[in-house]
Symmetry: C2
């Protein structure tokens, strides 16, 4: 039997395996639990959207344009492109006096298959609002309009919109801004390379906003929006949405591309960051659920409700079960 963090079974046999890294930290940055390499340099990708949303509140843009909590939740979203999600993003743009054409996120086939089919049936083409990042971009644009900055280049690293975000990331993750290297995300904006434990720290500070001594009001609005409107953050059959729903305000949760999952536990004030080494997203839900269970976060009723994420079934083209995904790694407590 192969030793592996995540095992993908076909029938009785392990077909493929995944390696997982985990860091669990408190809001002071103390590493509490780890697995694999908690210092692994990692692009958090979309899991950092709640931090990218902080300037939307702190610049005053959210209030100036009358963004409601569901709009703030969309700033933090990798949404499915469901009709209501798209409608709310277009609302945000309208409130800021902009149009869909201002979005620089590009587009892609949305996870909401029915929205995609409808578009094709009607002979229409994909537009940027279908991008899972359109809410984040609408938020970025709103801050640019509010601060009277150029709206055509808001996605570039040197633009004030991205520089404000860099400062937030630096502050929350406790890494000097000049030491944060960047790449370009799928939607064209900068992504930040950070040690996994620094990403977890960012979520610990989302979970325990007073500990950092800064940004607390903005953080409370953002995490409050996400937990009040989990349906805006991801959508149907998505871990982030169903996790925040099941934990009823206790957890704030956000996945990122290349298999990153970040969770903040508002009850304990800790942050969790998970990275699947190979970027395989299918391993991520089981990995994240295993971390929650090992940390004793949540009761059996919640784990029963979320079983399809904790123990995913591999199906064939007939929808018949032919295998399963199992998380087999064990977190180690850290004393340092």
């Amino acid at each position: 039997m192969l030793e592996a963090d995540i095992k993908v079974y076909r029938g009785a046999h392990v077909e493929s395996t995944h390696v997982v890294h985990v860091a669990v930290v408190d809001a002071a940055g103390k590493l509490l639990y780890a697995h694999g390499n908690p210092d692994r340099p990692t692009f958090p990708r979309s899991s950092l959207k709640p931090l990218q949303a902080v300037p939307v509140v702190e610049t005053g843009a959210a209030d100036a344009f009358g963004f409601r909590p569901e709009h703030l939740a969309l700033c933090c979203a990798s949404h499915n492109g469901e009709p209501l999600q798209r409608e709310r993003v277009l609302e945000m743009l309208a409130k800021a006096g902009l149009e869909e054409r201002h979005l620089k996120c590009g587009t892609h086939v949305p996870k909401d298959a029915e929205s995609w089919r409808k578009l094709v049936r009607e002979g229409k083409e994909l537009t940027p609002v279908y991008s899972n990042c359109s809410g984040k971009h609408a938020g970025m644009l709103a801050t640019a309009v509010h601060m009277k900055e150029d709206v055509g280049t808001y996605h570039r690293l040197e633009h004030p919109v991205q520089q404000r975000i860099l400062q937030v990331v630096s502050r929350f993750c406790a890494v000097p801004a000049e030491r944060i290297e960047t790449g370009v995300d799928g939607c064209g904006v900068p992504v930040h390379l950070l040690p996994l434990r620094a990403i977890a720290l960012g979520f610990a500070r989302l979970a325990a906003p007073d500990a950092a001594g800064t940004d607390a009001a903005a953080v409370r609005r953002i995490t409050g929006a996400m937990t009040a409107h989990p349906d805006m953050v991801a959508g149907a059959r998505r871990l982030d949405t169903d996790l925040m729903r099941a934990y009823r305000g206790r957890l704030v949760s956000k996945a990122g591309a290349e298999a990153v999952q970040c969770i903040g536990d508002l009850e304990r004030g800790i942050g969790i960051a998970v990275k699947v080494e190979d970027g395989g997203t299918r391993a991520l839900d089981a990995a994240a659920m295993s971390v929650l269970r090992q940390l004793g976060i949540g009761g059996e009723d919640i784990f029963a409700e979320l079983k399809s994420y904790a123990e995913p079934v591999v199906e064939n083209m007939h929808g018949e079960p032919v295998g399963r995904i199992e998380a087999a790694f064990r977190l180690a407590p850290v004393n340092r």
Copy 2:
């Protein structure tokens, strides 16, 4: 810098990595080169389709129903669901006196996006012929009809169709049939668990059909069909098709789900099997191309032609390059 077999870069930084296993064997079963674990128990999945096609020839079904080489190529195919591919599969069924409803492969959204859009535009539903496995299933059905066996249960392990295939797999891969464990493939038929080097041996024997002292005529027809009609084996922008095209009859190539790639070199009479540990298919093309280059199979003109497979570019939603995939592993010669 992380040491890794396959590195996925975002900008200048490694974002994710993949582990790769490789076995290179001759037709006598001698392991010539290896990387990782050449004995790794592996489900070859669709990479074994050329062996699954052997009974289509050897039972006489192919001749009885007048299958042309492109039909035989489709028996070995994981096709894109392109219009000509679907048309030819329906032809096979008609030649055997059957209809599309007899296919037990289930269905899925085809890789050929335009075929999918057309279906949706016309308000139609996916049917089994769109499944990438429909040619293989049509071949299996044809043998059942020809042998006067039940056509409703041909996908089950105990059916003579699958038992003949099990014997072929056992013979080519040199593993006793009673020691071959099985699972259920995505399309509902049995898949065979084999050491990676045994899978490579199967391809060595496809490449050097006389060495095995059996099945040589059938093998020559099958590999001849695949190399003469590589467009039927996979389709547009697929490694199997473009590789067989570029090598002009020298290589027979077939990928399988969960990131398996098998290649037979008809010139040297050797077989190659590659498995990406985590099943991540995006790592597979670069891994396979690296093996070919390290073995000195093919000239610089071919590697230039296939550069998009050897050095895949990671793009963002605007189609801009934001990263790349690099194969960094080194095959080791084996003396045993």
